[in-house]
């Protein structure tokens, strides 16, 4: 039974670019002495340039064989993703982007010699794409909570042992092309400020723990949340 049309598009309204996340993506720790007006300028500019869009599709999932029951069944490679999805009975494949105009602004600022602004613009665009995917997550959770379904966190190609090369499957299962997301030969998404991911849905003992900074091996990462060991 399919409850949803394939490749539903969602363009959330994003009222504000998240300032705190923008600063975090730019590598500014809390309390850093940095001109607020550059953060404001970057968030204001991305606010105007962003074209947030997300697309998703729901598939039945068979945990035992780690099989996504798409028209052409997709067997999940590796162990991380099946572990992440736990006993989910369904999965959502999603893609989100903020469009290409945002990244052009980064390059322009850099070329003008406004390095810090360029970095903040890049970070604000990252925050915007995360906010877009989060908004879709909220929409999903609202739809599925009524059915008592729990959602896992997002899991993207490149997390754990789910190889980046699976970006191709994630794109086609989510319908990424429908919102203008493409893939180059190195499995990079275009526009650059785009993501794909999968979310598990199920009742019962769905694994609710997800990828978090605490579990990540890149301990030197600039983006590691403060307070994470």
């Amino acid at each position: 039974m399919s409850e949803f049309a394939q490749f539903n598009v969602y363009r959330p309204m994003i009222g504000e670019i998240d300032r705190e996340e923008t600063k975090r993506y730019a590598g500014l720790k809390s309390g850093a002495d940095f001109p607020a007006e550059i953060v404001e300028q970057a968030c204001g500019k991305i606010m105007l340039l962003k074209a947030p869009a997300a697309v998703w599709s729901v598939y039945a999932y068979e945990p035992a064989g780690a099989i996504i029951k798409a028209a052409e069944p997709y067997v999940l490679p590796g162990r991380s993703l099946p572990r992440h999805l736990g006993t989910s009975s369904r999965v959502v494949f999603l893609a989100a982007t903020v469009g290409a105009a945002a990244e052009a602004a980064v390059t322009e600022a850099f070329d003008r010699g406004e390095y810090a602004l360029a970095l903040l613009l890049d970070a604000a665009a990252t925050a915007a794409v995360e906010q877009t995917a989060d908004a879709l997550g909220k929409l999903m959770s609202a739809r599925f909570a009524g059915q008592g379904l729990q959602m896992t966190k997002r899991f993207s190609p490149g997390y754990g042992d789910w190889p980046l090369t699976e970006q191709k499957a994630a794109c086609s299962l989510s319908g990424a092309a429908k919102i203008g997301i493409g893939l180059n030969e190195s499995m990079m998404l275009t526009p650059r400020k785009s993501i794909t991911a999968v979310i598990g849905l199920g009742c019962g003992e769905v694994a609710l723990t997800g990828q978090s900074c605490a579990e990540c091996l890149l301990t030197g990462c600039l983006l590691r949340r403060e307070g994470t060991k």
């Binding site: 309204m13 850093a32 550059i38 390095y115 810090a116 970095l119 990079m188 650059r192």
Partner: protein, 790 residues
Amino acid sequence: MIKIFEGAIGTTLQRLGLADKPCPEYASVTAAEAVTEIHRSYAAAGADMLECNTFGANPLKLADFGLAGETEKINEAGVRAARAAATAGMQIVGNLGPSGRLISPIGDLSFEEACESYARQIRALAAAGVDCLLFETIIDIQEMRAGVLAAKAVCNLPVICQLTYEENGRTVTGTDPATAAAILEPMGIDVIGMNCSLGPAQLLPLVAALAVATTLPVSVQPNAGLPVLREGRTVFPLSPEEMASYVERLVAAGATIIGGCCGTTPAHIRAIKEASGGLAPSQRRPLPRGVRLASRTQTVWLGAEHPTVLIGERINPSGRKAMAAAIKAGDLAMVKREAVEQAQAGAQVLDINMGVPGVDQRPLMKEVVENLAMLVSTPFSIDSTEPEVIEAGLRNFPGRALINSVSDKPGVKERIFALAKKYGAAVLVLPLEEKGLPRTAAERIAIARRLVREGKAAGLSDHDFMLDPLVLTAATDGSAPQETLSTLRCYRREFGYPTTMGLSNVSFGLPGREDINTAFYLMALASGLDAPIINPCSEKIRTMTAAARVILGTDSRGLAYSGNYVEKSAETAQPLTAEGGDVLSELCRAVMHGERERAASLALKAFAQGLEPGAITSDALIKAMQLVGEDFGAGRSFLPQVLLSAEAMKGAFDALRTKIKAEDLPYAGKVVLATVKGDIHDLGKNIVGALLSNSGFAVVDLGKDVAPSEILTAVQREKPDIVGLCALMTTTLGSMEETIALLHREGAAAGIMVGGAVLTTDYAREINADYYAANGVEAVRLARAAVKRE
């Protein structure tokens, strides 16, 4: 009397194994008796209103099961199954759920498709004889608007509208109950409420918030609590008695129709029915006086009892050549910027006028309204003289807009009143008539009176009118400003409706227009102006409005006004770089603090004092970058701060370059930089390049996605000290390795430095790189050390 809906049907169908053949609604066709039996159990439990099994029976949703063609049959069967269970006095409710798709621009379903889908289902329900329509579990106000418009277009049945709210008190797409009421009540619906998603405890405060924002009956159908997991299964935990214990409170909060959603059973409905026996509907308060406008996410009240509202005037191409040209070329960037800037400056409503000569305004108005509604959360005022353009704006605006404006023009005014009624918009009355300009307040009042009377005859209410006193030019008619102010006073006395006007006409032809406008503005506020159409970005208007609110008593004791001053003094108290010391240490500090202009002027000052460029560079600029680098390495400062310092250093370098030849500046070495083949990220590489060139390196940047052969050619040509390669993703590390192998094979003499998010020291060694730089600062340090070693 409190009326009772029936409870969940879908869960029972699921239990009976009838929910997926292929969808719950089809059970009315294939297992009509089973469906009727469910209705009977609810009827026996005391339900007054039976909800047909037609929740998902709209053609868009049915299409997922290949059943769109059977829309009429499925709805008819659903109504028949309910009718068979009904006893005298019970109402049959045509149930309408969401289409499962979101409406553009939020989703990819067009508003018109949504309307058509609902219209088809409603026609079938009406033909089958339902007593009223119930839209429920709707999460997007635009989908609800589509449903209500469809219902009004095809039948005269009463309409109940129930949205679904989250725990934050808003629908997923951001609408709160009061705003839903502001939008839907003027569209002529009959009952407003909420269902699903939350339990009675969570819905109680939302029912209360809704009831004070509407004069309509309020309905509520909670889930049986928030779902919990028990023994691996999802259950809705509230027992019938627990659920019924909320009934008295729900009624006290304003609900008069109560039912249940997910997890409720006939036993729950029976308990609710029993708990509601003998309860009287609570006394409801009338709405405040005034007019409310709404966007998808907020309500704005206008009127004498509310604070002054600024209506932003700047989205108007008349007299603005650049904006008109951009709009004509299809470029909305300027319009968007004006919207955001005005909203940030404090405009609570935005006027939208698309009067560009030679442009079809209808599709343009639709596009602009859709775009701006995604960008700002203020309601809009749709400003046009043409009913078709006004309708394009109203139809696609997910809120309640103001029509700007209606005047006494036969043939047009009737259409505008009809649009206001249909879309639930407010309307701005402009006292103009065809026979000539009314000069006196008395003439204007007479016209306004006539228009208000006609508007009411067309179905509008006291909550739907705003009045414009008409502003004429003081330079050509000395009494014009006084007549306007007098009209405002008369409006307040006779109608009490909120007033609005554009100010700037008054000063036309006079010098120092802003002063005239401001004086006029303040006097108009004193005479009863509630919502000026104005440039909110004007500093004078902003400060005067804040001050006037104190005088008018709408900013009680000047609290908000004082708040502005606190923020301001905090803004001006920014720390500046300490003065003093010699010019080089001052310059060093300026670079460290990222003060670009100051660094440039200090560099010139140092040069003017006769200091050598080499000394200025090494003792101030490079020293500053080294100190910044140390702070960065120690975690005392962060990349954006390093980049600000780099900008300041570049400012100083650029200033020095105007005085001396490039070769007199220190030269640290040469670097060829590239992001490797297949990789399209370049910000990191650009940062490294900027930091290197500011440290005296000559940087040849080959860009991103650069093939190994191209890098080799550049290295052979440039003979750099260092080749810097960047790769961001695991998928392009192979390309990096390949490049290094090629450089080694061809005997390139440069040291190879690699960096990028996924690289590590070990991996760098493995692919035979000479240096691994974890960040830009480290890259500079390594490059310096490498050149020294040579």
